[in-house]
């Protein structure tokens, strides 16, 4: 998240919180408050200004740029909307991946691009040298080529492209603070919608899908299928050099750490698995019922510093609102969170 996305009054509130489970969010808010003294980069402003009026989806407006090994954004434009393939595999994968991501949000959720108002989609490929990452910088997606030993190019996995763009959707909706539990929820939401982009694009049902995030990113030298497994967190890789996938699958194994903004890429395994459990319990396509419940949750009134418990309760309320109290959809949601160690107190509540 960029500076200034969380309103200052909310940051002040977060900064004063004195709960252990919210400490990373409080610390992030304190840092963000201090940073408000600095000039703000361009990008969405405060809450009231940052959500433009929604429009109906009318097709993507994509621009792919090439940083040519530099760490400067955006680089030179190589492909605009409607242009022919460039012949550069990373640029073309990014273009197609942006299209697939746009299609999921437009077709399934009626959302026009990441802001709901037709925001142009921008991505830069060939960022840095041997650069082992992909990220969302608050305004665009950025993809490295990988080091060639552990990681290949980051555009190779559609779930990664969907993941990065979904950070943009979260920024314009729930705006989950990127630290501690709310940060792990931010990560999980990106994995959920990244997986949905891939499944929808391939026409795979919940039972057929791999539920892997970042499949195809590792080189042949790594013992692993992907970066993360939503169906079985902690099992995506087990390699002599990299070690074993450290993601927890239940709250009993929640990881307390100051690394990685409070373990946002580790603890996301817990809500990831909850989504997988809901989707497979309901059967059919994950984007038919489980996806809309999660989408309603992030576009509802979830607080930016939401805990796992807050999020679990919000998904139950969203399921009740969409499918009815005690519907099989709501019961699947409640059962899933209970399985991962987050029982929801009042299952009849609709929020």
């Amino acid at each position: 998240m960029r500076h200034g996305i969380v309103p200052p009054y909310l940051l002040s509130h977060l900064a004063q919180l004195d709960r252990d489970d919210l400490r990373p969010a409080a610390e992030a808010a304190q840092r963000s408050l201090r940073s408000d003294l600095r000039p703000r980069p361009a990008g969405p402003g405060v809450l009231a200004e940052r959500v433009p009026a929604p429009v109906p989806p009318s097709g993507p407006d994509r621009t792919i740029s090439d940083a040519a090994g530099a760490e400067t954004l955006p680089g030179d434009v190589v492909r605009r909307e409607g242009d022919d393939s460039t012949g550069d595999v990373a640029a073309d994968e990014a273009y197609d991946g942006l299209g697939a991501t746009y299609a999921l949000f437009a077709d399934v959720f009626g959302r026009a691009s990441i802001d709901g108002a037709g925001l142009p989609l921008r991505a830069t490929v060939h960022y840095g040298r041997q650069y082992d990452n992909a990220f969302w910088d608050g305004t665009q997606m950025v993809f490295g080529d990988g080091d060639g030993q552990v990681f290949g190019r980051f555009t190779a996995s559609l779930s990664v492209i969907g993941h990065e763009l979904s950070h943009g959707v979260t920024q314009y909706t729930a705006d989950l603070v990127y630290a501690g539990q709310s940060g792990a929820l931010n990560e999980s939401v990106s994995d959920v919608f990244g997986a949905l982009v891939e499944q929808y694009s391939r026409g795979q049902s919940a039972a057929e899908a791999s539920w892997l995030i970042g499949e195809g990113l590792f080189t042949d030298q790594v013992e692993g299928r992907a970066l993360r497994s939503m169906s079985a967190p902690g099992t995506a890789y087990d390699d002599d050099v990299l070690g074993k996938d450290p993601q927890p699958a239940t709250m009993a194994d929640y990881v307390d750490t100051t690394d990685d903004n409070g373990g946002v890429h580790l603890n996301s395994g817990i809500p990831n698995r909850a989504f997988h459990l809901v989707a497979t319990a309901l059967g059919g396509n994950a984007w038919d019922a489980a996806g809309p419940i999660w989408y309603d949750t992030i576009t509802g009134d979830l607080p930016p510093a939401a805990t796992f418990s807050d999020f679990a309760a919000a998904t139950s309320a969203a399921a009740a609102a969409r499918f009815g109290r005690q519907s099989r959809e709501q019961r699947a949601v409640v059962d899933a969170w209970s399985t991962v160690g987050l029982p929801i107190g009042d299952t009849g509540s609709d929020g």
Binding site: M1, R2, H3, A28, Q30, R31, S32, R34, S35, R38, D132, N133, A134, F135, W136, D137, G138, F151, F154, V160, H163, E164, H167, T170, Q171, Y178, A179, G183, N186, E187, S190, G214, L217, L227, L242, D259, D260, N261, G263, V264, H265, L266
Partner: protein, 94 residues
Amino acid sequence: MDELPFVITVARTGGFAGMRREWTVEVSAPQDAERWRPIVEACPWDATDDTSATPDGFVYDLRVADHTAVVAERELDGPWRELVDAVRSTADDD
């Protein structure tokens, strides 16, 4: 850093993969210390409280003697970048 040896540690966490990588340099020879001290002292160690996170961005945890700092990749420019690049290239060469 007045006493030898001292150790410079760069730990990189976060990123899409959420994997931790660490590079260290142990400075024990006086001539090496003369090379490293200006690189370390050029960094604004006391002014690094802005690490508001970029989703999937790397986070750098830097330690030298009694100096510590957490620097988001987006803030990693100027002397921070020089320090990290110097430690990584030296450690990778070992």
